[in-house]
């Protein structure tokens, strides 16, 4: 028993190394004094300083933050409404709708990108930052729905009955009982969608129009003109922010 445990421990260690090794190297080399990504020449902050002075990159960051914020709010509005609304339906319908809503999570992202692009072009909606936001909200709605529904399932149904007994209408109960109880899940879902939106490349790639270059798109095109440690520095910051947000989100969901 103890031996098996030791063996498993080693396997998980290798797994962790496999997952985090490349990221560790990336972060390490963002402090490299040399311009060449392959040779180590000592510690330096210069790439973080260069990052700060790179206006196109900062613009792209602003775009990314904007898209993530607005699409998250949109996804929260739709996703929470969906999760709460589904509870009131009979079980079979509930499952059907839930499965249909999971579609954006299971179809390949490329297909979602292409279909969104065709959709916008067909409706003659010019591609812009707006179309990116709508695209991101689309794949974030199911994420919000799943997280909020999981929390909703754990709520004691008697709480709502008590509220009704005390004369609360459906809406009162929703406002004063359900939503406050769901708050950690909603916040967690929001942080999760924010992170997914911030990191998304494929859907953004297809739906971005003039003035809508987000950070991942910018980084991808930067690689063309040569890998620079600036990209390492930027990626390191991005990894930190994403991991921080995800960690925070998990913490909130546990509460």
């Amino acid at each position: 028993m103890k031996q098996a445990g030791g063996w498993l421990w080693r396997v998980s260690l290798v797994n962790l190394l496999f997952l985090y090794g490349p990221i560790a190297v990336l972060i390490l080399f963002s402090f490299n004094a040399s311009r060449l990504s392959a040779t180590w020449q000592g510690w330096s902050w210069q790439w973080y300083r260069a990052l700060w002075a790179n206006q196109p990159l900062l613009d792209a960051t602003a775009n990314s933050l904007w898209v993530a914020t607005v699409s998250t709010l949109l996804a929260l509005l739709l996703g929470v409404g969906l999760a709460v609304g589904l509870e009131g339906l009979p079980g079979r319908r509930q499952r059907q709708i839930e499965q249909a809503m999971l579609m954006p999570l299971v179809i390949p992202e490329v297909m979602m990108g292409v279909s969104l692009l065709l959709f916008f072009v067909l409706l003659r909606i010019p591609l812009s930052l707006m179309t990116v936001i709508v695209g991101h909200a689309l794949f974030n709605v199911p994420v919000v729905m799943i997280i909020v529904r999981a929390r909703l399932r754990k709520l004691d149904p008697r709480l709502l009955e008590v509220a009704a007994d005390l004369g609360a209408s459906y809406w009162d109960a929703l406002r004063h009982v359900t939503i406050p109880l769901l708050r950690p899940a909603i916040l967690g879902a929001g942080l999760m969608s924010f992170t997914i939106s911030l990191d998304d490349f494929i859907v953004t790639y297809f739906t971005a129009g003039p003035g809508a270059t987000t950070l991942p798109l910018k980084v991808y095109s930067m690689i063309k003109s040569g890998m620079s440690p600036e990209i390492n520095a930027l990626s390191a910051l991005f990894v930190m922010v994403s991991m921080g947000l995800i960690g925070f989100s998990l913490l909130l969901q546990r509460r």
């Binding site: 060449l36 607005v70 709010l73 692009l117 072009v121 010019p126 406002r175 003035g211 095109s221």
Partner: protein, 351 residues
Amino acid sequence: MCINGMRLFLCLLMLLLWGTVSCQRTSGDAGQKTLHYFTWSDYVGPELLAEFERRHGVRVVVDTFSSNEELLAKLQGGATGYDVTVPSDFMAAIMIQQGLVAELDLRMLPNAATLEDHLQHLPFDPTQRYAIPYLWGTVGIGYDSAVVSTPPDSWAVLWDPRYKGKISMLNDQREVFGAVLRSMGASMNTKDPALIEAAKARLLVQKPLVKAYASEHYDQLLASGDVVLAHGWGGPVARAMLDRPSIRYVVPKEGGTLWADCLVVLKSSPQKELATQFINYLLEPQVAARTAERLLFASANKAARPFVPSRILDNPAIYPPLDLLPRLEWMTDVGEALRMYDRAWTELKMH
């Protein structure tokens, strides 16, 4: 309290959405005009853009793409709103053919009159009706003269077993086949199946010597000494020279590719006049010279030469010596033969 929270949330959401929409609408027409420039990453100095903005009282928004194919896909997919973009020569030809590019008013482009002689009549647009060359250069071999002691003058050096594992080739089928075809004395635009087959056989022989097929980071491979011979565009080789002064650049005697990235106004551009002014601005001698200095690619405007520092002008990796010209060749559309190149390239990569 929760009602307020909900209302606040909805108000905030509406405000943000409205903000996004209106911010883009105003950028379209009323008040300050906005020019949308769709280009390669880091292909124009920000201070040059700021100067254009000041001069014309407009805003310039830059979006970036990472390959010619991406640019084409984006435009074919129906992206509108971009005004000016910079395809490479062969892609400019395709875009013109597909009717994506607007005709230019040459009277508004006085700076296009002083283009380098050999760039005045591009094979796919001999009268400059659609495309104005912006930057140009060659494809050749970057090598480390500290290791490769006899300066190579032929593509054959890329088959030299002494440099096994120290050679990088572009990750670009037409360029790689182009180099081999030239070394065989053929045109890089051949449609002859036998020649393509023979070129593939030569590449298969070379493959064990090749460390990487890289189009993006061969400047780093050269500068760090991971490779000592790199098939590639001159600009990145010039960048490698900054880190390792022993790097040299040569276009082999059998000849190589001549390329130019071209400025075009898109047919879907809502403000073609401003777009044309922008192209004219980028070609202004001093602006063009600063661009050449920053990007380490030669400017297409001959009038820019006096403003380019001599270390740039005399670097053959950046400014190809003009006596090379007879040996250089434009890469042109090979039509149906492209499938043969595709297949041969895939076989090479799979082998």
